[in-house]
Amino acid sequence: MEESTENKERVDIYKILIVDDDVWFHKYFTKHLKSWGFEVISAYNPYEGISLAAKEYPKLIFLDYIMPEMNGDNVLKILKAVEQTKDIPVVFISGNLSADVIGAAYKIGAKGFLTKPVSLKVIYKKIEECLGSEVFAKLKLEHNPNDEPDFKVFNL
């Protein structure tokens, strides 16, 4: 029993959920997150995003602010209201937004705001900030050394 929770914990570290209606962003983002060793779950609309968050318990959610049918702040409100998902850090990713929108989003519990186009460096820093700086060291250790992850971009 103990072993299985440990296993679950281990897997969860690597799970990141992306909620965005932009297929290209998924392609770009998934490629790099995977190369760093993360497991990526993709949701292309807000409803899919909410259900996947509740089902998969990702460690981090990247959420597009402007989506058809339901905007990111409403998605966040729902996530915060649900017991299983209320503690998952959520980072908004969007085009240029006004300061009051960003302020309101922080008030309801957003963990950060990234502006499109997002550079890998910024994403990397944000993940470190949300999941702790040791996450990449762990990933490096557990990642298949033959499949060289794309760390070189940052000149670490």
Binding site: D22, V23, W24, F25, K27, Y28, K116, P117, V118, S119, L120, V153
Partner: protein
Amino acid sequence: MEKYASTDKQIIQDFLRTFKELCQNFENELDKVCAELLNQIKKMYDIENVAIFRKMPDTLDFELYKQLGDKNQNYWDNIYQAILDEGSIGNLLATCSMISTNLSEKSYLLSPLYGNKDFFGFILVEYNPKEIFDNSMFEDFLFICSNYLSHKISNLELTNKITELEQNMNLHIADRTISLVKTNQQLADKIRSLYKNLSMALPHEFRTPLNQILGNSDFLMKHYNTTEPNEAKEIISDIYVSCRRLQTLIEHYLVLSQLELIAINIEQLEEIRNARTESVETSIYNILSSKSDYELRYEDFKIELEDASIQMSENFFVILMTELIDNAVKYSDNGNPIIIKTKAEPDYLVLTVIDYGIGISPEDLKKIDAYTQFDRDKLEQQGLGLGLAIVYRIADITNSKIMIDSQVNDHTKIEIYIPLAKNL
């Protein structure tokens, strides 16, 4: 001389003429001054045999320049030879002071003359010491005379030099002015042809979509009540397509005319060549996100990107990349793959875009080439898009190279070699 135009020749001839006059002036002035001096000596001491010897240019030989009396050339040549043999000329040159000597019962006085930077010559006086009341006074007088003459010569030489310099300067200014006028002329020609090309091609290209919009909307207005909804929808979508075409055209024209203007502005060109795109990959994905047309072909896109920074402004890269992707999407059918690849070589980023569509015929490819050389008025009438011309122009401005490999109804492969960003 060939490199000068006829006006330039005229200027040089003018200059040479003035220069000759100038030299003539100098000689005339010198002549006057010397004559005046010799007359003074005659007036004071009544001596007939006074001569001025002048140093030959580039040698240490002297020759008779002017004399007071009417002795022949030989007379003075003999004396000069005798004095030279005796060593007085050598003394004169070595000491630069007045030398007196006696030769075959006659006395001679040599007084040196200086120019501005060189030994000019000397005054030679043949006299009888017994006839002179006070010899030392005579020597002093001669000394003053030679100094006066030296001073005059320096002045003349300086004036001469200054005038010569002025002339030279004028020549240079004239030369420079001519080349400036020529450059301006070329620039004006270029702008004129640019203007002509734009204004000639513009109306034709605009007319087609505009007529379609006008015709269709006119039909709808007149037959509003009798048109079936389906038919109306078709007409409206036709109008929409024409509007889009018009929009693309206007955008292309604006970009292209801006590019043409940049290409002739050296300062702006420099600024643009210093700009860079930090991440090609981010930029490309951003472009793909920007248009909904691309999402419809999501499955067709095969993307293999190696990220790098390039020496091309983000703005230009976006324009270039959008054109390439637009063309690939427009000219290939759904289901045919579109390949976008980037690969960093040591100096270049190789950007490859391949589509399996209608392709470009070799004739049309040639036309694009010609097109960039301002043949727009002819080509635009054949409906060749401006997109590739824009790509060519940007490549041109940013020192990139383009290779196009295409086969009609098979494929189009465009490879662009963009310089990698210089390390900061």
